[in-house]
Amino acid sequence: MKVLDQVGRATIEFFEYAGGIVILASDSLGFLGRLRIRFIETINQCYLLGFQSLSIVLLTSLFTGMVISLESAQQAVQYGFGSLVGSAVTYTAVRELGPMLTAVVVAGRAGAAIAAELGSMVVTEQIEALTSMGLEVARFLVLPRLLAMLVMLPLLTIFADVISIGGGMWIAQVYAHISPDSFISSARQAIGFEDVVKGLFKSLVFAMIIALVGAYQGLSARGGAAGVGVSTTGSVVISIILIFISNFVLSFILFGGH
């Protein structure tokens, strides 16, 4: 009975959480539909959540592109397929690692920042103060962060794609003596414009996950500084899990195993 009780509670909590996220999304997008947008705050959030994540995204993408190139070049050169290194790096970067790695990095940085900021606003009664002034939290706080994430994550993903391919190309030239022309030619054969668009579509879904989970976790914070810490940690963990799961589902739907 105890196990059944725990399963029941966990199920209720799951649906409460999922329902909460859906309601938050619906409230926020409702204000977007009515064009009740705080433009200046959205631009501010683009800077805070997006631009300030640029350096860490570029750094992780650069080294990821380089390591893919290093590993694939080793094998490819050994078996005489050096010309395929460009394909391997570009294919992986644009379709999978670019969107996903960028999202994971941004979830760790910007998603946590959203949860921590909103959480500290909850425990210092700032959220209650907004509600008491008749201001809608979904419009005032959540929508600018959601929009900023929807704009900035695809942009960051483009930068991540470019820098990881660039890093891969450099390592391929230095380590396996594969010329940039050969690398680019191979890359062009591996992916098309459609792949880039699908990769960016993934980043839009990831942006929704990061912003909404961060906001929901923050707004659910209870119990002072410790509660804010728990919410922030939860935001990163839940976002990353959802990013991995949705990445698989999206890859299956968008690329269908091809």
């Binding site: 606003m121 210092t124 009664e125 700032q126 209650e128 103060a129 907004l130 509600t131 008491s132 002034m133 008749g134 201001l135 809608e136």
Partner: protein, 251 residues
Amino acid sequence: MSDIIARLDDVTLAYGDRVVLKNCTLDIVEGAITCIIGLSGAGKSTIVRLLDGLRKPEVGHVYIRNIDICHISETQLNEVRRSISLSFQFAALLDSLTVGENVALPLREHTRDPDAQIRQIVEDALDSVGLAHTYDNMPSELSGGMLKRAGFARAIVTKPDLILYDEPTTGLDPIVTHLITDTIIHLRQKLGGTAVVISHDLQSIYMMADYVAMLFEGAIIGYGTVDEIKRSMNPIVQQFIAGSEVGPIPI
């Protein structure tokens, strides 16, 4: 209820298993300062949150100008809230905005007044609470007493009919407590309107209150003018205002 601006009607509310208010009824007289006293954790702050629609009772009704705010939509509630302001215990200013921007926020969001006019109204509001020089300061640069007064400025800037002060003097030294009390009295004289003040500070209450309500174990057990409360025959009220450890209140 012609001279009653707000009313808690037989309200019961619990946080989890802990019943905070039980069949609590309280009338707030229009144009008066009503102070609510009671032990720590008695549910006084819950009352102001009920009056502002931030909490909903499990049983009972909360009326603002005869509108039952427990059974209206969030949009309608936001309309009602425009005639109410809540000044929080720790001011609850948005720490990402300057003091001036905080005070201007309700005007920027709810009116189409030009910037220059809003700036003038905000400067007047800050001047009313003795903070004219703090427009461009961040909240983190103000002392506790200044923060509370900045919170007052934000509360009065829309000229509400009902201002709710949640523990305005708690944690302040006697001089600042006196200053805050004077500010509340001055604001009521200048702007009119109705005020509900949650406080433990009896000296402040005696200075400002038109009516005093004592909350104990979830219900109002004493209500009247300051003199009536001082003369109350209720032993709980007497023990509380005497600040005595001896009496029916369990310590």
